[in-house]
Structure formats: structure tokens, C-alpha cells
């Protein structure tokens, strides 16, 4: 219990700054929505001049008109997802390996506590941090819709799925990062690894849109939880939801067992 409290306290500043950051980005996007929807015909004209591949790569598929709230949110939501991905990757790489880098693993593991307990306590504190960030974002998101929708029609319920998908999305990136961190001999900088994971998955999804290749669909959570698909169809890509849940479970369980028997290196 003491580990859990201690960890959660250490995350508190991070939860606040990530929430503020992501809400800020979403606000910045939504501020432009009224102008955007007013001049949507002009916008469509500009976009039609761009090569189709480029538009695809940035998710401008025109499946939902961009002049609607739904279409606009669907277009920009991947950028919010990138932020969430970096946050959870950061927590994933940091959860166990930061202790080793700062030598506090020696401190913690020489206390009368099993690795089992350490893992579970740390895991719960990260889960709570992630959920809190999503919750803060979701509440602010709805608030901002009211302010910035500018009389355009939308349904709160249209975004329910999108917002709840963040939980699966975050857990997927987080658990994969925890697992990878167990294979890296010495994690030096968590932020660069986290940026790599977050942006890397995003770029894979851009490749997917460009080439339409099936392989990419299976390996990036940006495709599993594609905002356009979820808003348009009001359902998850069922297959990919299950893939993401399976990968999450396998990563978490493997990381758990690796950590139980891992040698904690001195520097």
C-alpha cells in the first residue's frame, strides 16, 4: 500500500500536466472549428487540389464531411491519440526501468517486499493515472464541444465510443512499453523511447492509409481505434479490439513474469 501511495503521488504532477496539455491541444483544434465549418466549401476546394495519397495519409478520407462536428473531430482525434500514446509509453518505459536507472531499484528491492507486490502496486498506480487523464480529457472535451460547436449539430453519444476507446488504446501502448523496457539492458531516456513508440505507431497508420496494406492494420493501435470508423459506424472494429486486448494481456503477463526473475544490474 505504501508503494502505491508513493507512486501515485509521484505521478500526480505528470497527470496534471498531461491532462492540461492534451486538453489544450484539443481546445486549439476546436477553436478553429467555427471558421472551418463556415468556409467548408472553400476548404473542400483547397483539399481537392492536393494529391489523394497525401490526404489519405493524414486521414482526410471525406467519409464524414469535415464541415460537421463529427467529421472535424474524427480528422483531428489521431493527434490527441498521439499525445495519449506518448504519455502511456512514457509510463510504460518508466514503471520498472526508471528505478534501475536511478539505482532506486537497489533501494526498493532490498526492502522486505516481494517483486510481485512491487509490480502490482506500480501497475495500479499507473492505471489510475491513465484513467484519470482520460476522465479529465473526456469531461473537458464535452465542455469544449458546447462552447465551440457554433450551432452545428452533434450528439454527445456519438463520441462515447471514441472516448472509451482511449482506455484500450492507452493500455495497449502502456503494456507494450512495459514489456519492451524489460528487454532493454539499460533505459537511458524514457522520453525518446516514448516519442518513438507514439509517433512510430502513428506513422505506421499513415502507411496503412497510403498503401492499404493489411500488415499495417494489424500492428498499429491507430488503426484498431480509427476515429473515423468509430464515429461513422458507432462500433469498434471488433476483430481489432480483440487483438488489442489480447496483445495487452500477453504483454502484461510476460512483463510480469520477466520482472519476477530479472537480474537487477549494478551500474
Amino acid at each position: 500500500m505504501n508503494i502505491f501511495k508513493f507512486e501515485l503521488k509521484r505521478y500526480s504532477a505528470s497527470i496534471i500536466s498531461w491532462s492540461l496539455g492534451i486538453v489544450g491541444i484539443m481546445a486549439l483544434f476546436l477553436v478553429f472549428f467555427p471558421t472551418f465549418s463556415e468556409n467548408s466549401s472553400l476548404m473542400d476546394q483547397i483539399l481537392s487540389n492536393y494529391p489523394e495519397e497525401l490526404l489519405k495519409a493524414f486521414g482526410m478520407t471525406n467519409e464524414i464531411p469535415l464541415s460537421t462536428v463529427n467529421g472535424y473531430v474524427a480528422l483531428l482525434f489521431p493527434y490527441v491519440q498521439i499525445c495519449f500514446a506518448i504519455q502511456s509509453a512514457l509510463y510504460g518505459f518508466g514503471m520498472l526501468s526508471l528505478e534501475e536507472r536511478n539505482l532506486t531499484a537497489d533501494f526498493l528491492l532490498s526492502k522486505p517486499v516481494s517483486r510481485d507486490k512491487i509490480f502490482i502496486n506500480k501497475l495500479i498506480s499507473v492505471l489510475i493515472s491513465i484513467l484519470l487523464t482520460i476522465l479529465i480529457f473526456a469531461v473537458s472535451f464535452y465542455g469544449m464541444l458546447i462552447v465551440f460547436s457554433d450551432g452545428n449539430e452533434y450528439q454527445f453519444s456519438d463520441f462515447k465510443l471514441l472516448l472509451s476507446s482511449l482506455i484500450f488504446f492507452q493500455l495497449f501502448v502502456f503494456t507494450i512499453s512495459v514489456l519492451i523496457s524489460q528487454f532493454i539492458h539499460k533505459v537511458k531516456s524514457t522520453i525518446s523511447l516514448a516519442m518513438g513508440i507514439g509517433l512510430g505507431f502513428y506513422i505506421l497508420s499513415a502507411f496503412e492509409a497510403l498503401f492499404g496494406s493489411k500488415i499495417f492494420q494489424f500492428i498499429t493501435p491507430f488503426y484498431y481505434f480509427n476515429p473515423t470508423y468509430m464515429i461513422k459506424n458507432q462500433e469498434y472494429h471488433t476483430l481489432y479490439l480483440w487483438i488489442s486486448i489480447a496483445v495487452t494481456m500477453v504483454s502484461l503477463i510476460s512483463a510480469y513474469f520477466i520482472y519476477q526473475n530479472k537480474d537487477i544490474q549494478a551500474v
Binding site: 536511478n102 539505482l103 532506486t104 532490498s110 522486505p112 537480474d263 537487477i264
Partner: protein, 290 residues
Amino acid sequence: MNIIEINELQKYYGKSRGIENVSFSVEEGEIFGFIGPNGAGKSTTIRLLLGLIHPTGGSATIFGKDCIKYGPEIRKDVGYLPSDVFYYDNMRAKDLLEYSASFYKGDFSERIQKLADTMELDLNRKIEDLSFGNKKKVGIVQGLLHQPKLIILDEPTSGLDPLMQQKFFDLIREENKNGATVLFSSHILSEVQEICSRVAIIKNGLIVNVENIKALRQNNYKKVSVKWFEGEAKELKLDGMMNSILKKNSQKFFFNGDINMLIASVEGAKLRDITIEEPTLEEIFLHYYE
């Protein structure tokens, strides 16, 4: 009763050696030295004892219980001071020590304050702003605050000034008097000599010898230095001589043969000076490392 018992302990990292074969035991109530040069396997052995790493062979017990299997239970009564300093970012010394104390049953705030006073440590400063020596002190308080029955020290004095080292030794002696057993690892022999009663010597992952400090020093070898008057030099050659260095008018060597033979061999020689003395621990140590 043996507090620590290590039996043919071995650790390989893939193909590279951590330790090859380490066996020794530490009795209750003693301050046991563990010496060897850097890279000999001292830290590896200690990390195995604490369950930070897992052995590839052999076994070790603390309080009669297997180190890996009963790790958390054993560690209730173990205090560990790592050789490197560590800290969580953005934390005061006090916060870290309170966190450390929260792993043990009881209230340790008075004890923390007392230890900090002894070591002259300001508890309200952020750990990252402290000097290396002061960070080390945080480690010392952290390792001793729960009055452990076994104290494991891995090169504890590096970074402490001589005055602090002395205070630290006094602290360790006091804990020892109150019943704590101590495993003290170091590569500095004089400090081991000062505080330990027995010592294990490790070299290239193998225990070379376990000896009583007194026995180690009295162990036969004498350091002999002979000086002759100009032109009177006559090299001594005796059974039991080692490392003999002959110069123009002097000779130095280690000797563990019959002392009467030595005296007889210089009889009648024109000597300017002769000294027969105890070798320092360093010199004995070098002998083991040949």
C-alpha cells in the same frame, strides 16, 4: 549460529563471470570483512544475497533461510547500504527516509533524527542537491533506521571524509554491540583491518582465503630489511624467503622460515641496521594476489 552461509555460489552473466565459486559463512555478532579488488565479485555476491540477482549455481542462506525463496521475509531484518548513491527526483531526504521506514513495522522518526544528527545530515534538503558524501549519509541512515539484525555494507566509506568515516565506524560498532552482525565489503584494507574481526578475500570470483584478522597478520610472514656497511654486503639466501630485493648495500624480503636460521645467517656480518617487522595488511594482501 551462522547468520550468513554461502555455499559454492556462482553467477554467470551469459558467458561472462560474476563469481565462480564463493563459499564462506558469517557468524552471529561478528563484523565480517569482505575484501578484494574492483571487479573481483564483491558486489555480485552481495546482490545475490539480497535477491537482486539470481544465482546460476550454489546457494546462500541468511538466518538459515534461502535468500531467493524467503527474500522478503529475510529482508525485514537486513539493512543494506549500496556502494552507489541513489535518489528519487525531487525528494527531500526526510521523504525518502519516511518512505524507507514505511516498509517496516514501527515508528522510526526518532531513530531517523538521531542517526541524522550523528551523521550531521540536514533532512530538509532535496537529495539531488546534496553532495556525494551527503547522499551517502542518506543511504547510511536508510540502511540502519530499522535496527536490522544484519547490516550489509558495500564499499560504504567512499565519498565520506575521514572524520565522517570515523563517526560511521563508531555507529557500526555500536550497532554491532547491540547485537547486529555486519558484512563489510571494501577494497581498502586499512578500514577492514580497523573494524573487522574476520575477513574473506576474493579474487577473480573465487574466495582465496577466510581468516581471522589477527591470524592473517601474524601469519608467519615477517618483513625483513637488512642494511650493510659499505662494501660488506653479502646476499642472504634462506628457505622461506620471498620477494627478495637486493640492492648495493641492502636487502629486503618476506620471511616465514625458521627465525633462528635468519639470526644465524647474519651472525658475524657487518650490519648497519636490521629490522624485522609485521607486514601491513596490504602487503599480505598482495601476497595472496600473486
